[in-house]
Symmetry: C2
């Protein structure tokens, strides 16, 4: 052991980050301590503040330190259309890629009864209440087409139909620029079955 205790401790603490192994943790530690003390202090403060204050939006369950997140507060968003996603990062991906002007609802997971993830864990009671309120008239499901994702989409779709709310699902198929040869069989069969007529 050639590290001082505090250096060693920092190196180990970095391991909580996704994708950071022993080598990266070492590199991060030396980089901050040798060249960027100010960055280290800012990161410490940002972590501390976010860990204490960030909770979830009362309306959409996205990460926020406020009671209601900026997106749900914004009056420039259309409250009639609700896009259902699995993760906070999906919100960002859709915001960057599409011109969607409605609001979101973040499930933070997929139905997985064996892991103890039921409708309540995904906030589906909150969503049901929201659909019952009557403002929402259209639901867009942007849930991954995995086995659990399909089950979740089906469950939410059923809820929407019972509330008399229209439901659509984003298209799944061959990605743009994707070479058919390299697309997996499941996607290809799905894309083939879901062909749309042209001209």
């Amino acid at each position: 052991m050639s590290y001082s205790p505090l250096v060693q401790q920092l190196m180990e603490a970095f391991r909580c980050l996704p994708g950071v192994g022993p080598k990266s943790a070492q590199r991060m530690t030396f980089s901050l301590l040798q060249h960027d003390r100010q960055g280290a202090r800012s990161l410490a403060a940002a972590l501390q503040q976010a860990a204490e204050a960030v909770g979830e939006c009362r309306l959409c369950r996205n990460l926020t330190e406020a009671e209601v997140c900026p997106l749900c507060q914004s009056e420039r968003r259309d409250g009639q259309v609700l896009c259902i996603v699995e993760n906070p990062s999906d919100v960002q991906a859709l915001e960057e890629a599409t011109d969607f002007r409605g609001r979101y609802f973040v499930l933070k997971g997929r139905l997985s009864p064996l892991d103890g993830v039921g409708p309540a864990e995904l906030g589906l009671d909150v969503l049901e209440q929201r659909l019952a309120d009557g403002e929402v008239t259209e639901l867009i499901l942007a849930i991954s087409p995995t086995v659990e994702g399909e089950a979740t989409a089906q469950y939410v779709g059923e809820m929407a139909r019972q509330a008399g709310v229209g439901v659509s699902r984003i298209a799944h198929g061959v990605p743009l620029g994707g070479d058919l040869e390299y697309v997996d069989a499941g996607t290809l069969s799905h894309a083939f079955a879901g062909r749309t007529s042209v001209g």
Copy 2:
């Protein structure tokens, strides 16, 4: 902008880490806030403590929060042999790979007059004093064979000779398991010139 201010701030703070771009920063932020608040708090505390307390060892300039680092304090290390390295991470690499039982001296850089890095910035005055003290009888140079590294090695070597201390340099050549075909020309020519007789 779909992030709350504290989430955004954390995402930006992660960018101070080497090798972390916008995507990784986003992944780290969501991972900690969704699944590992405790990890976030520990990392914040470790960063804070290390940024405040870690300085450099009075004897070897390695990173430590103590006045003298564990390695320089240890009585099981041989104070007569001093290995000169560029970075704190080099100390760890040598500790893991070799059975060297002497002590280290960390330059924290290479001589580079154009960038304002002279002998004083590398702590060579401290090293000179240490050589004059007489305990050290052998110096091992483990400095990268770059242009600036060569200049640094030459400078330190000259200092050692003037102090009457023996100097050696770690071998540079074709790495073990390295295919000659893929070794760069500089390394190959260096290895060829530095051949040693066998049998």
